[in-house]
């Protein structure tokens, strides 16, 4: 009993300490991001890795989500006589919530774990230490570029994914309901408002930042040798996913207070 209590307390303490440490890590990022020299090439490379290389996975996932979501909801909507509402309902669901969150979760799995593993392996093989010794700022070169690339590329991925999801949804409507492309997207843009598009787009920047930050943090402070690399990658994915839901909840709350209520 006492052991459990101690372990719970130490767990909470460790969680708070890690949160503080991560905040410090984020603060360091903001300090370093505006300092010269800018590692532009490395930033572009990371953008390519995070953006272009994730696009296929994210795009296919988005397309299938739109397809399946429409297939699943369509029978009930038709039964209720509300089949004309399918485009607007799917559009609002995808643009407000499903598109950003699913894209971010998939990116967390692919990008977060990759960053964690890459930086973790660099840490355990002492490459980061070597960079510090050679006079290169490893934080600026490795962390700032990755977090910045992730922050800017996730929104682009989300936009593309949203459109592919809507296209997937349109295909189902076209095949089952004989709805024209123009009518479908006319209904979509009639239903979606700036109060839907802007908060969800801003949210994706936070998602990108969280994916980059947690991945980099876990990789950068990787311990326990090569086994730690796996742990770092795994922890990055788990923590990022949790963080994404927390950010999503906070943004939804703020959006509701500012725009919807």
């Amino acid at each position: 009993m006492n052991y459990d209590k101690r372990s719970l307390l130490s767990g909470i303490k460790a969680f708070i300490a890690e949160t503080g440490d991560m905040a410090y890590f984020a603060g360091r990022f903001f300090r370093e991001v505006f300092k010269r020299p800018f590692e532009f090439k490395e930033f572009l490379r990371q953008c390519y890795n995070i953006g272009n290389r994730s696009f296929l996975l994210v795009g296919i996932t988005g397309f299938i989500i739109g397809l399946v979501f429409t297939l699943q909801s369509r029978p009930k909507m038709v039964e209720l006589g509300a089949d004309a509402w399918i485009p607007s309902m799917i559009a609002l669901a995808i643009i407000r919530e499903i598109g950003p969150l699913f894209t971010a979760l998939i990116s967390a799995g692919r990008i977060g774990s990759a960053i964690g593993a890459e930086l973790g392996s660099m840490r355990v093989t002492e490459q980061i230490d070597a960079m510090e010794v050679s006079g290169t700022n490893p934080f600026k070169y490795l962390v700032v570029t990755r977090i910045l690339a992730s922050t800017l590329m996730i929104p682009v991925l989300v936009i593309l994914s949203n459109f592919l999801a809507l296209y997937g949804s349109f295909l189902v409507e076209y095949l089952k309901g004989e709805v024209s492309f123009r009518f479908y997207f006319d209904e979509v843009f009639r239903a979606v408002k700036y109060t839907d598009l802007i908060p969800s787009t801003i949210k994706t920047f936070f998602f990108g930042f969280a994916i980059g930050l947690v991945g980099c943090y876990n990789g950068y402070y990787c311990k326990h040798g090569t086994a730690g690399v796996g742990i770092a990658a795994n922890t990055a994915v788990v923590k990022t996913s949790l963080m994404l839901f927390i950010i999503d909840f906070v943004v939804a709350l703020i959006t509701d207070i500012l725009f919807l209520s």
């Binding site: 682009v156 593309l160 997207f185 408002k193």
Partner: protein, 336 residues
């Protein structure tokens, strides 16, 4: 180096595609919300907005005409709604158009529906306020339905009571339904009514035939329908009227004459007037008779004298110089 450039190119395409899609979405949403269009603001005043929100659609004849931009409470019963209307549609909204807050579909958003006005009024301009009317709310409908329901319940109870009385043979209708004698009597009456109806039909048929005979010109009614004859008859009647008026005049004059004669007779009876004197004095009659004889003699003598005078004048015509005078007279009369 080549690989790096190729990667950068792909990255550029990737980012630009994302940004382009975001821009397209922004423009499309803006167009749907009339943010970039040429619009003007008009106003409508309501007592109750029925849950209308800023950003809700405005429809004119079923077309999306704009958005609700502002809802402002002026007084406790006066709510002013600002409507941003597309200028292309604004010209078609007349000054007597009416705005109503309705639901978009069964469970849809509230919308402002503008109903078209008449052509005799001009188009609204920016800043104008159009008329509005409030539709009956669901609560009011439900209240009315509740009242109707209560009345229906009371009515049902009464109907049930009446139905029971009828079933038990009470009252006139009950007796009609339940008593076999009355039923037979009603049947017999109905039979008689049927018979009477047949006879009435026959009578009506005869009457129709009689009325149709009016169209034949060889009877009196047909003759009356002839317009020429009718005109002649009219003239005759007019003449009769005129004659009767003249006869009336004559009769009135005769009456007057008779009255005068009566008066003369009365006077004569009373020993007054000329007639009385002439009829009642015998000396005067003798004198008149004598005078008449003298007159006859005198006239005879005058005739004889005039014959002699004629002879003398003939003799005179043939004597000179009077003879010349008569010749001149003849010539003058011949030249004319």
């Amino acid at each position: 180096m080549q690989k790096s450039f190729y990667q950068q190119l792909k990255l550029g395409v990737f980012v630009l595609t994302g940004i382009a899609l975001l821009v397209v979405a922004t423009i499309m949403i803006g167009q749907k919300q009339n943010l970039f269009g040429n619009s003007a603001t008009i106003y409508a005043i309501f007592r109750n907005t029925s849950g209308l929100k800023e950003g809700n659609n405005v429809r004119f004849s079923g077309l999306n005409a704009g958005k609700v931009t502002k809802i402002e409470m002026i007084k406790d019963t006066v709510i002013m709604i600002s409507l941003s209307i597309n200028k292309d549609i604004l010209t078609h909204i007349k000054k007597d158009s009416k705005a109503a807050i309705t639901s978009d579909g069964l469970v849809g958003n509230m919308i402002v529906n503008i109903m078209p006005g008449s052509d005799s009024f001009g188009s609204v301009a920016s800043g104008d306020t159009i008329q509005s009317f409030s539709r009956v709310s669901t609560d009011e409908i439900l209240n009315t339905l509740s009242e109707t329901n209560e009345n229906a319940a009371l009515l049902t109870v009464e109907m049930l009571k009446i139905a029971k009385e009828i079933t038990s043979g009470q009252g006139l209708i009950g007796a009609l339904v339940q008593d076999p004698k009355i039923t037979q009597s009603v049947k017999a009456t109905l039979f008689d009514i049927g018979k009477s109806a047949n006879e009435a039909a026959l009578a009506v048929s005869n009457l129709n035939a009689f009325i149709n005979s009016f169209d034949q010109p060889d009877n009196l009614a047909g003759a009356i329908r002839d317009t020429v004859l009718a005109n002649q008859l009219k003239n005759i009647i007019l003449n009769i009227e005129r004659s009767s008026a003249e006869i009336g005049q004559v009769v009135r004059q005769l009456n007057q004459t008779v009255k005068n004669a009566d008066q003369a007779v009365i006077n004569a009876k009373d020993g007054k007037g000329t007639i009385n004197y002439l009829s009642n004095d015998p000396d005067l009659v003798t004198k008149i008779d004598h005078t008449m004889k003298n007159i006859d003699e005198t006239v005879l003598e005058i005739r004889q004298s005039s014959q002699l005078l004629n002879q003398n004048l003939e003799a005179l015509k043939n004597t000179w110089p009077i003879k010349n005078y008569f010749k001149k007279m003849e010539k003058t009369s011949q030249s004319k």
